[in-house]
């Protein structure tokens, strides 16, 4: 019996298709654009054909036009940056608070028993309910808005971090005990790295809520920002402006989420999981 290792024709053909693999890599993110592009094109077609007025739901061409106008006048940039700034500040404060308190509650049962019930009760309060209170306490300018966003960001990050710390594999904690790590060193060298993947997910979740809360903040008493643009469009009867503001939200929100994923990626290279990026 002979076993011959020869390249068979199928393999040879596969090797020659190698350049197409580069196309495959580009195709994956392009797949994400497929759905919105197809839907947008379909709606454009329907409006052009006259089957729908496109007044209340403007077709992509009109929205794009509105975008260009807002960009030319500098308004788009101004409002976007203001909103981005508010989300950034609220996110920073919320994450800082949630990380410290969540880590403490995750690691120490005493701390958890003391503060977790209260935090869970506060978490149940819907975002809109906070607005009048913060406006009363902190005024109608930036402080109340940033605080509202920070509150929104706080809860998912706190919950995610605390839960993740409690789920750390006991075997790894024991390695830390065998090497006589102090409480603080144990958190720093074993617990926090172990929970990093779950922490990043909770950050993304918190950021999503931050974007939600910024609308709530801007819908009540703002003179700048994408939420203001939304209200402005409604009050002046400009549906295109409303949709443009929403599209801007979607794009900037997605971009910030993508930034988190990008920033975290080098710290998560060690993971041994199903996910392929």
């Amino acid at each position: 019996m002979t076993i011959a290792a020869e390249r068979n024709p199928a393999e040879a053909a596969a090797m020659e298709r190698a350049p197409s693999r580069r196309w495959a890599r580009l195709a994956r993110p392009a797949m994400g654009l497929l759905l919105p592009v197809v839907l947008g094109a379909a709606w454009e077609f329907i409006v052009r054909m006259g089957w729908a007025t496109g007044r209340l739901a403007p077709p992509p061409s009109v929205i794009f036009q509105t975008f260009v106008e807002l960009a030319k006048s500098g308004e788009l940039q101004r409002h976007t940056l203001v909103t981005l700034g508010r989300v950034g500040a609220g996110f920073g404060i919320g994450v800082a608070a949630a990380t410290i308190i969540g880590a403490a509650a995750g690691y120490s049962p005493t701390v958890r028993r003391l503060i977790d019930p209260s935090i869970q009760a506060l978490r149940a309060i819907p975002s809109i309910a906070w607005v009048p209170l913060f406006v009363l306490w902190l005024g109608i300018f930036e402080a109340s808005k940033v605080t509202l966003i920070a509150v929104g960001v706080f809860f998912p990050v706190y919950l995610g971090l605390m839960g993740a710390i409690q789920s750390v594999d006991r075997k790894l904690v024991e390695v830390g005990r065998a090497f006589r790590l102090t409480d603080f060193t144990m958190v720093r060298r074993i617990l926090l790295p172990a929970v990093l993947p779950a922490y990043v997910i909770s950050l993304r979740s918190g950021l999503g809520l931050g974007w939600m809360f910024v609308i709530a903040a801007e819908l009540m008493g703002a003179s700048e920002g994408l939420g203001y643009l939304l209200i402005d469009g409604q009050q002046l009867g400009k549906p295109a402006e409303i949709v443009a503001a929403i599209v801007a939200f979607a794009i900037v929100g997605k971009a910030t989420d993508w930034l988190i994923v990008l920033a975290a990626a080098p710290f998560l290279r060690w993971e041994d999981v199903v996910r392929q990026d």
Partner: protein, 274 residues
Amino acid sequence: MRSCSNQESERCCPSNASARPIRNGVHALGGVTLEVALGEIVAVIGGSGCGKSTLLRAIGGLDPPSEGAVVLDGERIGAPHEKIGIIFQEPRLLPWLKVADNVGFGLGDRPKAERAARVAAALKRVGLADKAAVWPRELSGGQAQRVAIARALVPRPEVLLLDEPFSALDAFTRADLQDHLLDLWADAKPTLILVTHDVDEAIVLADRVMVMCPRPGRIFDEIDVDLPRPRDRQSAAFDFVKRRVLAALDRSLNRTVTAADAEPKAAAGAAMWW
């Protein structure tokens, strides 16, 4: 004496402990007295539930005994100690650190240059110098366990505790790592206390084999292994000691050993004493 989870054990102080009633607890160890000399290799073997892991964890300070004391060089051990290293059944490498960082984990307070030098030397010693910059998830089971051994040996402990360190590996890797462990042991001759359920492993490695029996856990018999190292697993002398250990194990589990059973069996079934 501190109340803790449910064991009683004594080391280096003989006494007859009156059992303190513990609600819902398992009386894991009922009076163990064990003295181990410096540089000795002791294997602890026994049926399941005989408390051998509990004993090892008590010695290591991970689960201090509810009664009695573990004493090392006159010092009571109530928590993990820098002179005692522990190797677990799984490698338990930290997945977010590369191999070199894992090996150097116990040397956090040393200057960087010294740490790098000792880690490199340890990795070379276990034959994994080329894997220093690799993630733990890329290692095979045997390689990961070797890294764990390197990690435990790098702080130069006086006592090394091994809790069934090779039980998760295949037979070839196991034999290989047993020889490797002896090789490493010959460097600094730390005291080794090894818990295992593999009789061959116990006899290849140990100077003394302690046979434990369960309910409650205590030392049933002690068998000296007076064979010169390196030990030949196929030799008649080895086989003789093995039969003694197997007979002791059978007796410890209250199974009678007939004259026919005491003769060497040709089949591999002889190793299955449970």
